[in-house]
């Protein structure tokens, strides 16, 4: 029986709570706003003996991921956390962690990438890492950050995958906002995550294994194919784990969260905390009779192309909200929009799509912005024409 306690927690502390309950073998991490709350809270758990993790207070984020890789290759559970420039500094190691198939779990508290230096939320950091081979889960709330962190352990360690997982939450907006979070009892979390038995370990001195050999043209390609195959198996694992989590803890997770989508003719797709604002606005618009719904995407890697196409099949117009820019992409669109377009086009779908860049560097997202998106969508559905493919919300021009 799960016994949950409602705790008033900041999002970052909710992640730290999950880490405490997971009690990983090794955590190597480095502070960066707005993630620091996680690493310092976890350090305190270590200092107070609430966990018996080996905590490595490294000298940089590159070193954090380097240590995580060495530790994970040595056959135990490994976690870390970072944001923005820290994630960017890890770039080389992100690819190596995924390519060595090491099931590391990392919290990312989304923050804008420099320059200009900015400590507030956008998704340029994790979107910049989207091709690194990590599974990416986005969280709307502290509760989701907590739940996703626990599930991430199971997903990463699944024998069909052995892939690292990043769990995102919005910097400050979620990371530093206090919400009521249902924290399960330690024993239930421990039981849910189970124990991890590595297939290979550096510490198995009786069966020596070489990790990180190099490839030429004769093997590299096949290894990359194996990696992408593993990623293609991830969606099923994510859904299975999300269901099982629901059975145990009462909150079921899937690929995305659909709100008012049943008879929707217009749809908004968004990640993380802005889903809350969008939902509120949509609730009001529904009262006025607008047939609009929301798809809050939880899983961005692997990208749920087929599932999205199916969810959007009866919709006439789709707005995709991006909290980052893929510089130089078609009309300077955002990465989420590009993926949605690709999915719809490949499926032969004919919905009209429009992109909105919003909230860069922590710019506030006001309900009226979502209202504007809704009225644009209505116009697009009525006229069948997209006046402007890529648009900006809340920008002074």
């Amino acid at each position: 029986m799960v016994v949950s306690t409602k705790m008033a927690l900041e999002g970052a502390h909710a992640s730290a709570q999950a880490m405490r309950q997971i009690n990983p073998d090794v955590v190597a991490a480095y502070p960066i706003t707005p993630q620091t709350a996680i690493v310092q809270t976890f350090s305190q758990y270590v200092a107070d003996g609430e966990v018996d993790t080996e905590f490595i207070a490294v000298e940089s984020e590159h070193a954090a991921m380097s240590a995580c890789i060495g530790a994970a290759a040595a056959g135990g559970r490994v976690m870390t956390a970072t944001a923005a420039n820290g994630l960017a500094l890890m770039w080389e190691e992100l690819y190596i962690a995924a390519s060595l198939r090491l099931p590391i779990v990392m919290s990312v508290v989304n923050r804008a990438l420099s320059a200009p230096l900015n400590i507030h939320c956008d998704h340029s950091d994790s979107m910049g890492a989207r091709d690194a081979g990590w599974i990416q889960l986005y969280s709307e709330t502290g509760q989701e950050a907590y739940d996703n962190t626990i599930q991430a352990v199971r997903i990463a360690e699944h024998p069909d995958l052995l892939l690292p997982v990043m769990v995102m939450q919005d910097g400050f907006i979620t990371g530093h906002a206090v919400e009521l979070v249902e924290v399960a009892d330690d024993a239930s979390v421990k039981e849910f995550i189970g124990t991890y038995t590595p297939k290979y370990s550096l510490l198995d001195i009786d069966h020596p294994v070489t990790f990180g050999a190099w490839d030429l043209w004769d093997y590299y390609f096949e290894h990359k194919r194996q990696q992408t195959d593993a990623m293609s198996k991830a969606m099923k694992v994510i859904v299975d784990v999300g269901k099982e989590f629901g059975q145990v803890f009462g909150r079921t997770y899937g690929i995305f969260d659909a709100y008012a989508m049943d008879d929707a003719e217009l749809a908004i797709i968004v990640l993380s905390s802005t889903a809350g604002t969008a939902r509120t606005v949509i609730r009001e618009l529904r009262k006025k009779g607008l047939k609009i719904g929301l798809l809050k995407l939880r899983v961005f890697r692997p990208f749920p192309a087929q599932e999205l196409v199916a969810a959007l099949k009866d919709v006439k117009a789709v707005a995709v909200l991006d909290r980052s820019i893929s510089f130089g992409a078609m009309e300077g669109a955002g990465p989420l929009f590009l993926e949605v377009c690709a999915a719809l086009f490949a499926a032969g779908a004919t919905q009209k799509v429009v992109n909105y860049i919003y909230g860069l560097g922590g710019r506030d997202v006001l309900p009226e912005y979502i209202e504007r998106v809704a009225s644009d969508l209505q116009e697009i559905a009525d006229t069948g024409k997209v006046k402007s493919l890529v648009n900006y919300l809340g920008l002074r021009e």
Partner: protein, 309 residues
Amino acid sequence: MVIKLKEQATKPERLAPGHRFCAGCAEPIIIRQILNAIDEPVVVGAATGCTEIATSMYPYTAWNVPWIHNAFENVSTTIAGAEAMYRVLVRRGKIPERNIRFIAIGGDGATYDIGLQWLSGALERGHRFIYVCLNNEAYMNTGIQRSSATPMGAHTTTSPAGTVIPGKVQWRKPLTEIIAAHRIPYVAQAAPSHWRDLMEKARKAAAADGPSFINVISDCNRGWRHGTETSIEVTRLAVETCYWPLFEVENGVWKLNYKPREKKPVEEWLKMQGRFQHLFQPQFKHVIAEIQARVDEEWESLLKKCEAE
């Protein structure tokens, strides 16, 4: 502690033959000397570089012991992560204590240059591991580019000797001293020519209860430009000229391990190697004098450090 060759020769090879090091390369010689000297089980990491490339081309491996390569700059941290995992798994009773020794191997590029931050961090945190720098005084794997270990006057492809500039103009970084300044339990400088000294140092490093560091001069005949049969001779002369003194710093105590009976002129060492040939042209001869002066100065300062103790 006494190394008996007869006994050592019967120990199984930890680095198997059939690797792809160049003929005459000192790196596999040094690795075998060190791994042979250490009796405990080992987990080895290597930085990107010649050692990694020569021993781990998929689907082959020359390693008969657990081994990992992560990237160029972070072998220290990678091995530190493995060591941390070992400690916690033993503490949690998940695996038995097997007295494993963790060894990180990096070239001078990986150690003096790109990886210095990672190494310094791992030393400061006190992970129990042995860091071995295979110091061939340049980035050899990528075709002989200068590093901060490259000697003054040496020709490399990024410090080429030209008509105006006589090869590398800077003096080398005093890395062994920089590491010693971290006040870790054991720091040493060694050479494969003095194999008994090197093997004893490997044992001391393995016995140190904390981080240890051995900087080993490692001849590269491709980069240093000489025959494949003189590798050991060239490193011996580096020691005999006091260009590469053999010393150790054990718990803060400096000790000279070898004092040449007669200190040879550094010119003799330079003469053996094509990378210094341009220095023997009249317009660059002053560089040889400068090198000799710097070698003398460092040697005197080392003697003082060792005597003062």
